[in-house]
């Protein structure tokens, strides 16, 4: 009898303890270094990332899935995609820049280790209904099955340099000269990618060593005309959304920016979705997100992130297209109008050496 009583009491105590433990330290997908409720510990994998992936890594679903399927937990620090290659990698297990150029730079500098493109997102132009209507009327853009493409991209780029006004594009309500606003190419990856794309367009092909001296002054002129540029793609996108067509008629961004914004701002999205437009330039460039593993832990992260579940989550919630061959990214399930099923006419970026030259010219050196 007393044994039974004792047993019940101990059981009650254990349950009470476990419950209060849960109450005191609610599980939020595993806290740093702490074992989960079944006593299994998670490994922390540390690295440097381009800030575009921060929302994905902060997503509780991502954290949970990482812990469940890989026993991993990611500790990251944001850094510029080019900057991170030259940084101190002590204590780091991986690098996850936002461009293929970074990976090539890493290899150029003798870096080894496994690397895989986890996600891709094309460079796109964000705009507003009235602007896109005018571009379509002017023959610069076309609506193909609900997706807008810039079909005379080179001409539009030339208009940013030849003093064409908004008025002559058919938008008398906008003041001043026609322009496309980008982030600072020397501070932000989307700006750098756009600089590469401009150089390609002006060169008529992927800009080569020979052509870069001719085209880079024009690319610089383009960026000079933008004045003070934002340092981050996210900030530019945010200002575009809040300030609208008067201040930001056309901006450069990543395709995934729109999908992520729509998912994360369910209150704001319905108010802007009928006015916002996404334009796919023909051609465009990919912003690739290669993960460079610096050791075995980094390899484990690659393995986990390339699984179907992660690829699906990244597309549906954050708009990243899969880097894994054979994975479909169906825009229909997203419920967001204007997203292309496939990205056609993608140009490679100029080589890292050319890009370095180009960025120096833009910086005024």
């Amino acid at each position: 009898m007393k044994k039974k009583l004792l047993g019940i009491l101990i059981l009650v105590a254990i349950v009470a303890f476990a419950l209060s433990f849960r109450f005191l330290f609610p599980s939020s997908g595993g806290t740093a270094g702490q074992p989960d409720i079944f006593g299994r510990s998670t490994d922390t994998v540390s690295g440097l990332i381009g800030s575009e992936k921060a929302n994905f890594l902060e997503n509780p679903e991502t954290k949970e899935l990482l812990r469940k399927t890989g026993g991993l937990q990611v500790a990251y620090q944001r850094a510029g995609s080019i900057e991170m290659i030259g940084m101190d990698h002590v204590g780091k297990d991986f690098l996850w820049p936002s461009s293929q150029v970074s990976l090539e730079l890493y290899k150029l500098r003798g870096g080894t280790g496994q690397s895989t493109i986890i996600f891709n997102s094309p460079i796109v132009i964000y705009s507003w209904d009235v602007v896109v209507d005018a571009l379509v009327a002017g023959g610069y853009a076309e609506n193909r099955n609900g997706v807008y493409y810039i079909v005379r991209f080179r001409e539009l780029i030339e208009h940013t340099l030849d003093g064409t006004t908004w008025n002559s594009i058919g938008l008398p309500q906008l003041y001043g000269r026609f322009s496309i606003i980008s982030t600072d190419p020397n501070k932000s990856n989307s700006g750098a990618q756009f600089a590469g794309l401009l150089a390609n367009m002006l060169a008529g092909e992927v800009a080569t060593e020979k052509q870069i001296d001719t085209v880079s002054p024009q690319v610089r002129e383009f960026f000079d005309s933008l004045g003070l540029m934002e340092h981050s793609t996210g900030t530019l996108f945010e200002r575009y959304i809040t300030q609208g067509v008067g201040s930001y008629p056309l901006i450069v961004g990543y395709e995934n920016g729109l999908i992520e914004f729509a998912r994360q701002n369910p209150d704001i999205w319905p108010k802007v979705k009928d006015r916002m437009r996404i334009l796919y330039p023909l051609p465009t460039v990919w912003s690739s997100h290669p993960l460079i593993a610096l050791n075995e832990k980094g390899n484990r992260l690659i393995e986990v992130l390339t699984t179907q579940k992660f690829q699906e989550l990244a597309w549906k919630e954050h708009g990243f297209r899969s880097g894994v061959p054979g994975t479909l990214n169906d825009p229909i399930g997203l419920g967001i109008a204007g997203i292309a099923r496939d990205i056609e006419q993608v140009m490679p970026m100029p080589s890292p050496v050319i890009m370095e030259k180009l960025l120096l010219t833009i910086a005024g050196n």
């Binding site: 933008l226 934002e230 300030q243 108010k271």
Partner: protein
Amino acid sequence: MSTKKRRDASRSVFLLAFGSVLMMMAVLAAVSFLTGCSRTSVEGFSIISGSENETLEPIIKEFADRQGIEISIVYKGSVDIMLQLKDPGFAYDAVWPANALWVTLGDTSRKVKHLTSIMTSPVAFGIRHSTAERLGYIGQEVRVRDLLEDIRSGELSFMMTSATQSNSGASAYLGFLYALAGNPDVLSMEQLRSPQLREEIRTLLSGINRSSGSSGWLKDLFLSSNYEAMVNYEAVLIETNQALIATGREPLYLVYPVDGTVLADSPLGYYDQGDADKEQVFLDLQKHLLSEAVQKRIAGMGRRTGMAGLASAYDPAVFRSEWGIQPERILSPIRMPNELVLSEALRLYQTDFRKPSYTVFALDYSGSMAGEGAVQLKEAMNLLLDPERSSTYMLQPGIDDHIVVLPFSNRVLEVWDADGGDSTQLAALRDRIRLMEPGGGTDIYSPVIEGIKRIAKDQDHRNYINSVILMTDGSSNAGRKFKDLELAFRDLGLDVPVFCIMFGAASREQLDEIVNLTRARVFDGRKDLVEAFRQVRGYN
């Protein structure tokens, strides 16, 4: 074993077990208490903000009360916010300037994140309705050159904050430069250095009759007297009109120069120092401010809300069309120049373009200033009069400025002066201030009367922004009285503010009398005298 023994044993086991459960619960309660049972363990959260957001403070306080946290807000000018962001010892959790520009310029270590605009407000001219009518502005598209012509012919004068201290002044100034340079995509160095631009911008800025370092205070000054026009945020101009109407006065008509529009976007950003709990508090606060109900309330305060730059739900009783406000019209603001051009534009404003200032410093050298007081006073004056040091704060003397220094105790001890553009004279003035030693009683009125008399007789006062800056650490106990000052001030009939810096045991009452008479402001220098001097310098 007997029944009793068994009962005893079972009771003791029961007590033991029950006791341990109780103890465990007590331990848990203690742990729970120590770690804080509420959702957040954050006790204090601090924001550095532009003065125009002061109207929104009740909204923040309500949020803080509901969350059970203390949110403190410090109001500073945009330049100050930028300088503080540059400092690695930045002491706030969030930043809320009038324009994201100041974060872009100041946040060099890229610590600010989640930067999101809470509302917008364009910078406009608020002009007394009858004046706007006389000048033919009602219902018309007005360009900067139209304003320039009316200023040139003496038809229009206006109040504007300092372009190097406050965002509304900087915005208006940059808008002027773009319009006068013929609306380039972005302003270039060459354009800034054009002689024609210099002549025109100097003429335009000569129309300024009173200035300040803060947009909020400029509104109070405007309401305190009978001024004609003021450059400020649309939101502040709406507040001004509400106050004017409440007192039966004529409202202002808002003019938005079409070729020089600048928007304040009031972005709220988190300064990341790795505290996840604080970050959560920030995100909750931001979400609260952006929620539909709060956005509606903010719109009711004359701020433009709603996405895509469209005032989605504005109240026509607030954004009144008879005041010239058209919230549905698309505004195409100027594009900010790059950092180098921007810094050069602000430097030129401070040293060359702005209306020159004639400033009389009345400095207390009475006996009580001996020791720390004199040390701080000398340090402050050294900072302001050294062009190199003061340029850090964009407060360097302009080439046409004139500075008079009147050291006093129970009488005016000396009269020293220097031209702002003469570095030898400035150096000599710094030396004199440094070498003078305190002693004697206190008469604060004599130097102030002397100061305003000098302003009246030394120069054509219309060509300068005039002011007296009185710094004192004691109550006036000798010589002249407030009545003497009142008489002299009314006799001269000039709009010369006497700004007062309070130090040591200064009498707040005496200083309040002076600033009320002259429509100026008291700055508290008791904690940091150098800082107070810096602040007051931004007002002239």
